[in-house]
Symmetry: none
Subunit: 416 residues, 2 copies
């Protein structure tokens, strides 16, 4: 199928990138997102907070790319020069937009902070640009749709990503000659190489379907991109590939899209009108933190205890004789903690973690060992975990594994 | 002091970078290493496995940088085109170097593998280049030392890094006229625009000192880079600028380098042999999660309760009459929670959060409102917070603010 190819590029602005102080996750995210849409990404670039550099590289980039996404350099300081760089390349003059200025002022008022004079710079616009709303920060973005499409977005990923998804991506989709459908399947509990082996045949089955795997903080993502002449054709191809991947990976697949394990569990619990409580040792609050990142979690999350010591566990209902007989880091203590959490908060389900995320061995267990347990109205499941590495990596893995254990239990309950 | 500044750039080659399949850790490593040496890094760039693109971007880069490090594109396949790109830009013709070819052949023999014909490409050299030995792989690098210094290194970090350290860095150090010293100061509680205003004079005080601000998840970083003829001179200039920034920002500065608020608090608590416990509502476990990300936190963190409902708060020692009189989201309830946490876990210090991180108003408070409290052996502090935005953003801000409140209390205690 012959197809027009549209070149794209990503340009990142900030001295901190040139000094290697931070990793440019925005460039990775955007190059992936543009590729998935069907754009031909031809350049990634980073320049410092310097007007001439921004303008020079933007000009060079526009020679090879019809779509350019710029991140960074939209802040309130005199080092933030992305707006001026774009204006210089397009030969336009930025002026303060009163509507944007009012919005920024309102945001500062809502935060109870004074708006300093330099923040007015964030209200600048040029005639060919429209503002991209930024619900998570003060700096609006710029979107220019002419011979070239240029979008300027703030550097913080928590601001950039929603602005990309809500405004920039929909605007760019209209440029594409073919239609694209994407499905991301999230898996947990199987390594990336095993996932790749199990779906090897699907990866090469259809030239109009791209299947790729990515290791994420919570499992492996299988990303399907299908192209077609119409939305229906692209959707059908993506759906067929997704079905094949689900069959190959079975219950390791926990959801689609940006869904988290905590979201999936939240959906089940809300539907069943069931409730959950936690008792954590090794994860130190990470488990309840993940659960409460889901909107509406107050409906089913009763509460949690971080019992970081033997005394704290005993004081919150974990029998001393179990800890004495089996050790703090044991499946038996994990089960006792899950039961104690359930009773303590009057919840149907208790979820617990005990182990070592730090760097010293405890009770002869090497660092990176943990046990997680779920007590679902008396039905018990446990899992033994091993994850050497940094403290934060281990905590995240333990907490996600506890959520996965609960997911499988809820799944079995729903389809006995 | 008039001084030559030497521009540098890093260019990465590979289609996988443009698709966002991998994060370019080589660019981060090399830009950091070049900056630390004292080079002025001006561009980072990535291009695909395409001869014209490699040559075009290399030419553009040589216009602004005397030193260019290229990674990737040195493999044995026809997609590996970095050597051809450099040769095209310099107007030279690559030829097989018999010594290199013998070395590659010997490596394959040692591994007991046949050397395929395409591996001969890795023995190519141009007249102006010398080979950089690669003890960890088959592809030698190229080092060109003329008007420009150009180094080409393989993409795998395990091969690239030793080649950088053993051959390229020593060759580049001879180019440098000055020494560099860097200090990063971490602040909390003051927005980036206010920080920039307060240190505006310092930013422009000395041409040998660069001061920049960066918004981080936990506050604003002030980054100082000073140059001098000797290490001592660079250190002195950086130290003086850091002292001036500390005076301008006062107690907003909480530490140097990669330190977190939780680390700073952990250091104080361990020194004082004091202990802390938490009771969280709005932050849902994020607060204890941050505290327990610090190594050794089990020494001073007694435990925490995530009391997500009125009942859970009451069951864990928060007086019903206080919640009834002032509401769940109030400074009074936050103080009562901090006191309950302290008593419950037998800790000197209690820390609490109550508020709304979600999207619905509660008790007439808009989303993004919270109160945090510290009870330090009966000495009380509270702070009212407003942070509209996503649930996770709000939780992080509330939790960090609680840690900051405790930091200020510990600081006052230490210097009354």
């Amino acid at each position: 199928m012959a197809r027009e190819v549209i070149g794209a590029a990503v340009l990142s602005v900030g001295d901190e990138l040139l000094r290697g102080d931070i990793t440019d996750t925005n460039a990775v995210f955007l190059s992936r997102a543009l590729s998935d849409l069907g754009f031909d990404v031809r350049r990634l670039g980073a320049v410092g907070d310097d007007l001439d550099s921004i303008a020079t590289v933007l000009r060079q980039t526009l020679n090879v790319a019809r779509v350019v996404i710029i991140t960074g350099g939209l802040g309130p300081t005199e080092d933030d020069l992305t707006r001026q760089g774009i204006a210089a390349v397009l030969g336009e003059t930025p002026e303060v937009d009163e509507t944007l200025l009012a919005g920024i002022r309102a945001r500062f008022t809502a935060m109870g902070r004074p708006m300093t004079a330099n923040n007015a710079q964030q209200a600048l616009l040029i005639p060919s640009a429209t503002a991209i709303p930024n619900p998570d920060g003060t700096a609006p973005g710029w979107l220019i749709q002419g011979d070239h499409a240029i979008a300027a977005l703030p550097g913080p990923p928590s601001e950039m990503r929603p602005m990309w998804a809500d405004t920039v991506r929909p605007a760019l989709e209209g440029l594409l000659p073919t239609r694209v459908a994407m499905i991301a399947l999230m898996t947990f509990g199987v390594g990336e190489s095993v996932v790749a082996e199990r779906i090897a045949e699907i990866i090469h089955a259809d030239p109009d379907v791209t299947v790729a795997t990515y290791a994420r903080a919570a499992g492996v993502e299988v990303h399907i991109t299908a192209r077609g002449a119409t939305d229906a054709e692209a959707d059908r191809r993506a759906g067929e590939a997704a079905q094949a991947v689900r069959q190959a990976l079975g219950e390791a697949v926990y959801g689609e899209g940006n869904v988290t394990l905590a979201d999936v569990i939240g959906g089940c619990l809300a539907k069943d009108r069931a409730s959950v409580a936690t008792m954590e040792s090794a994860t130190g609050g990470m488990l309840s933190n993940l659960i409460t990142n889901t909107d509406g979690s107050s409906q089913y999350f009763r509460g949690g205890i971080v019992a970081y010591s033997r005394e704290a566990k005993a004081a919150h209902g974990v029998p001393a004789e179990i800890m004495d007989a089996h050790g703090l880091i044991s499946p038996e203590t994990a089960v006792a903690m899950a039961g104690a959490a359930r009773r303590r908060f009057g919840a149907e389900i208790g979820l617990a973690t005990t182990g070592i995320a730090g760097s010293d061995a405890v009770e002869s267990h090497p660092p990176g060992t943990a046990f997680v347990a779920v007590d679902c109205g008396g039905r018990i499941r446990t899992r033994e975990l091993h994850r050497p590495g940094s403290r934060e990596t281990a905590k995240m893995y333990f907490a996600q594994s506890a959520l996965d254990l609960l997911r499988l239990e809820l799944h079995r309950k729903a389809s006995p």
